[in-house]
């Protein structure tokens, strides 16, 4: 198995103050001025994962824990949130795992999503994956004989909102590339199938809210 290179931009940044203003204002209104010392504090973490191999040898999914940023292969645990095998994605609940996770596919740009929905999360079932495996309906488009030919390209302005396996953390995730080295799909090297880098290598970015039950990003 190829080595997985990961780059962490693990900057435990606090959400900028203005970001939380609407939520704060709402809280203030609801609380009618009373202060609540146990208000959860937002703790988001932005990460870029490069070239996560999802070769699917022997049908095995590459499982990834968004909370820790680590990959695993044991699907029976709640130690993973999202799994990759070829173009297929799985999430830790339903037919795929023992967890309380789920996923929502939002037709919104990554940066525009500031709040995870409270409900509507889909779980994998025996008949259907929560994220459809077809071109144009799930996370990618297949170009067929078009340009660049026979390529799997992530759909634009699509963001996955993931509920983690413990059922209480939320993450937003955007897949950037399906090819090793995150190549520019319009480059000559990529357009020519002979020189194109290997597929089934995911590059994606995500933001996870480490504070449980808080839906803000």
């Amino acid at each position: 198995m190829n080595t997985v290179t990961r780059t962490f931009i693990r900057t435990f940044t606090r959400t900028p103050l203005w970001f939380a203003l609407p939520a704060l204002a709402l809280l203030l209104l609801q609380a009618c001025g009373t202060t609540n010392s146990s208000d959860p504090v937002s703790n988001t973490e932005s990460q870029l994962v490069e070239d996560l191999a999802a070769l699917g040898e022997n049908g095995v999914f590459t499982l990834f824990n968004l909370r820790t940023g680590e990959a695993t292969t044991d699907s029976t645990s709640t130690n993973w949130d999202i799994g990759f095998r070829g173009t297929t994605l799985i999430f830790n609940s339903g037919s795929s795992g023992p967890g309380q996770g789920g996923v929502v596919l939002l037709d919104l740009p990554f940066d525009d999503v500031t709040l995870a929905p409270s409900e509507g999360y889909q779980a994998d079932s025996a008949d259907n994956y929560a994220i459809s495996t077809g071109s144009g309906t799930g996370w990618y488009n297949y170009t067929g004989e078009g340009f660049p030919p026979f390529a799997i390209l992530p759909r634009e302005n699509v963001t996955l909102i993931i509920k983690t396996a413990n059922g209480s953390n939320y993450a937003k995730l955007e897949i950037l590339s399906y090819y090793e080295g995150n190549p520019d799909p319009t480059s000559d090297e990529f357009v020519n199938i002979q020189t194109r880098s290997a597929s089934r290598y995911y590059t994606f970015r995500y933001v996870v809210q480490q504070t449980e039950d808080l839906r803000e990003f």
Binding site: L108, L115, E119, N141, T143, G146, F147, L153, R155
Partner: protein, 779 residues
């Protein structure tokens, strides 16, 4: 000149006899009011003189009545005509008569008619199903004349169509034509008024038709289903073959060019008193060419084809003619491709394609009275295609694909010319079609019964005309169609004529959409036609292959033809007699476009598909053309089309409300379609000197167009456009005429197509720079 219509003051009319004479008898009471008749001052009279192929003449004149000297003598009318440009003698002195009649007498009125802007006598049949002067049709019709065809050096009609304003070549299982933004399947292609069959994936390959024995190509834009039925949604292209009157005529043409492209064709005409025969033979070949060196196989494969056609006309009696037409076309193509056998294995195969196209027409033309013409015809055509695939490495047989289609159409049409004001056309017939192919296990048969009627009304003959038509098509496998059409033209002045039309067009679901029964054994999906889906799905359910049904087969509504409403309007303006400006605006709204969509999911996870009426398209735009004759020898044509073609895109998106909760938003927008250029144009300069030298320079411009849907959103985004292109063709030649009684002609021509060597893998019909030499002999 015979058959020239002469109408006085729009109320009384006659036509010239064989000697070109006319005798117009009118009652004075018809021409003038009682009040006018009581006066002795000159009264205004107008004479309209019109004939096919000539500019109508309008004579303004005055009539003065001199009472007779005796009471029994009714007096004398004297006429004075304003001598306009074409009138050499404009005096008419009728004699007196007791009933106040005009009479041709003392001095005849000489009238010389001027030919209209196009070549004199350009008569078209496609617009109205009757012979009609190009200048007098109510629809936007353009004509490519024999002279233009022979001057272009082209061998196949696709080459000549590509140069025309508003026509764009497309490449999809053959070379087709895009009109007003519609794909090739939406234009009806006819040869002498009978539809050509053998469309592959909707495209009728225009390279199948040689230009050699063509007299003219008529192009009607806008829907003409009211006359021609299915497929005439974007327009109609009718290819009219040559007719000669000489006792004997023959021509021969040889052409050779790059890629070993050779063409040899000849026509023989024999005309006897009661019978005439025409025989045409053509052979055409090319090595093909390759535009992309990295792929296996050629862009355009090596091919050779041959055409043989015969037409015989026998005059059975003065009023009955029989015409028999036969045509045979065969083409062989040789290509090499890489085939994917399954996910890991691929193999190189050689494909030998053979296409055979046979058609036969028997037509009787009966003229029981001068004003009535009845045509009884039987058209039979068959198209077959066979592909034999052989593995190159092992030489083993791989696969045989076949396809055979037959088409039969008996039809009866009657035209009645009631008067100069009214003309009717009625007709009915039956179409039977069969198909056999490995993808259609049922060997489907379909039939259509149709009837149509058309009425033309000219309140002011030559000036104002209205035409209304209606056609009914009853088909065995889809909903019946009623196609109306209204059109009008108004000649405002000698120089300006307006046209407008509104009508409906339709395209029948094709065999694939009706009868397909295809399971892809490697991928595991199934596609059914609308007539095979119920039974097919039921069988799969019984065999336990279906996991989920999205739409119960009994809930499926009967499939409808794709149909449109369209408006066309434009004008012809003769800025000078040698400078014409012509324009047409169009708007088409198409609904019920047939698309493939899943109806069920198999246990394997793959889908079962069938065809639904789903899509909606609007195309609109306008075209303008100028045609200038310069100093007898030069003709300059320039054309431009603006096109805005949009498809209805319905998207359901999952987005968030203010609280972050999920909401579904459905958006309906009309978005740009692929392979449509907003701007296209052409410029063509022809030289034809009296010394026999001739030349042509032609430029065809294609503006940027959406090429491929990279993000699969169904429409052309700004970054999905291919850049504009311009193709230049140049040719020069010399004609030598021999001074023997037969006046034979010899023309030697050489030319370069695609002078600047433009190539684009997405437009395979542009082969790169090509040279050729051509020799034509006319006896």
């Amino acid at each position: 000149m015979e058959g020239v219509h002469v109408i006085a003051s729009e109320t009384c009319a006659t036509a010239t006899d064989r000697q070109g004479m006319f005798d117009l008898q009118c009652d004075a009471e018809d021409l003038f009011s009682t009040l006018q008749l009581s006066q002795t001052t000159p009264l205004p009279v107008t004479l309209h003189i019109q004939s096919l192929g000539y500019q109508p003449e309008i004579l303004q004149g005055t009539a003065t009545y001199k009472p007779g000297s005796r009471t029994s003598d009714a007096g004398t009318w004297s006429f004075q005509w304003n001598a306009s440009r074409a009138i050499t003698n404009a005096n008419l002195l009728p004699n007196n008569s007791p009933t106040h009649k005009e009479n041709r007498d003392a001095q005849p009125l000489f009238i010389q008619l001027r030919a209209t802007h196009y070549k004199a006598g350009t008569v078209v049949v496609t617009a109205t199903r009757t012979q009609k002067d190009l200048e007098e049709v109510t629809l936007p019709v353009s004509v490519i004349t024999e002279r233009e065809i022979s001057n272009s050096g082209s061998t196949r009609i696709s080459e000549i169509l590509e140069e025309q304003t508003g026509l764009q070549l497309t490449s999809d299982f053959g070379t087709g034509i895009q009109i007003q933004g519609f794909d090739a399947d939406y234009t009806l292609i006819m040869l002498d008024g009978e539809p050509l069959i053998g469309r592959i994936a909707g495209t009728l390959d225009l390279n199948r038709i040689s230009v050699h024995d063509i007299r003219q190509i008529e192009i009607v834009k806008g829907p003409s289903s009211a006359l021609w039925g299915s497929d005439a949604l974007a327009g109609v292209i009718n290819i009219i073959t040559k007719k000669k009157t000489d006792p004997m005529a023959a021509d021969l043409s040889v052409r050779y060019g790059k890629n070993n492209a050779a063409d040899l064709g000849g026509t023989l005409h024999i005309n006897r008193e009661k019978a005439s025969h025409r025989l045409f033979l053509n052979g055409n070949r090319s090595d093909g060419y390759k535009l992309n060196s990295t792929l296996t196989g050629q862009t355009v494969p090596e091919f050779r084809n041959g055409t043989a056609s015969y037409r015989g006309t026998v005059q059975i009696s003065d009023r009955l003619t029989s015409t028999t037409s036969l045509r045979y076309f065969r083409e062989k193509l040789f290509s090499e491709t890489v085939l994917q056998i399954n996910e890991t294995q691929q193999t190189e195969v050689r494909t030998d394609d053979t296409q055979d196209d046979i058609s036969a027409t028997q037509r009787f033309l009966w003229t029981p009275f001068d004003q009535v013409e009845t045509s009884l015809s039987w058209y039979y055509s068959t198209f077959s295609s066979e592909s034999i695939l052989t593995q190159i490495e092992s030489g083993e047989f791989f696969e045989r694909l076949y396809f055979r289609q037959t088409y039969q159409k008996p039809e009866l049409q009657t035209d009645i010319r009631w008067s100069s004001y009214h003309q009717s056309t009625v007709g009915f017939g039956l179409i039977g079609e069969t198909l056999s192919s490995q993808r259609y296990p049922s060997d489907p048969q379909v039939s259509t019964r149709f009837a149509y009627a058309q009425q033309s009304w000219s309140p002011i003959p030559g000036i104002l005309e209205f035409t209304a038509g209606l056609r009914f098509d009853h088909h065995s496998d889809y909903k019946a169609q009623l196609s109306p059409k209204f059109s009008a033209r108004y000649r405002i002045s000698d120089r300006l004529q307006l046209r407008a039309s509104a009508g409906r067009g339709f395209k029948a679901p094709d065999f694939r959409q009706l009868f397909l029964d295809f399971t892809n054994s490697t991928a595991g999906y199934t596609v059914y036609g609308s007539s095979t889906v119920r039974e097919g799905l039921q069988q799969q359910i019984e065999r336990g292959l279906i996991a989920q049904i999205f739409l119960a087969p009994e809930q499926l509504s009967e499939i409808r033809a794709e149909s449109s409403w369209a408006l066309n309007s434009g004008f012809d303006l003769d800025i000078t007699p040698d400078f014409r400006f012509r324009t047409n605006l169009f708007w088409n709204h198409v609904t019920d476009l047939i698309e493939i969509a899943p109806i069920a999911r198999r246990t394997t996870g793959q889908s079962v598909f069938t065809y639904f009426n789903l899509d909606e398209v609007i195309t609109r735009g306008g075209e303008a053309e100028i045609r200038v004759l310069l100093a007898e020898s030069w003709t300059v044509l320039a054309g431009y089309q603006f096109l805005d073609a949009r498809r209805l895109i319905e998207t359901t998106k999952t987005v968030q409300d203010d609280e972050g909760e999920l909401i579904q938003v459905t958006e309906k927008r009309f978005e740009p379609m692929f392979n449509r250029s907003a701007h296209t144009g052409n410029i063509r300069v022809f030289y034809q000197g009296i010394d026999g030298w001739k030349g042509a320079l032609k430029g065809t411009f294609r503006g940027r167009y959406g090429l491929f849907d990279r993000n699969a959103n169904g429409f052309a985004d700004q970054d999905e456009y291919e850049s504009a292109s311009m193709i230049w063709d140049l040719s020069a030649g010399k004609t030598i005429r021999f001074q023997t009684p037969q006046r034979p002609e010899l023309t030697l021509r050489t030319g370069i197509d695609n002078l600047l060597d433009y190539t684009d893998i997405n437009q395979p019909f542009y082969a790169g720079r090509l040279w050729y030499v051509q020799l034509q002999v006319r006896l």
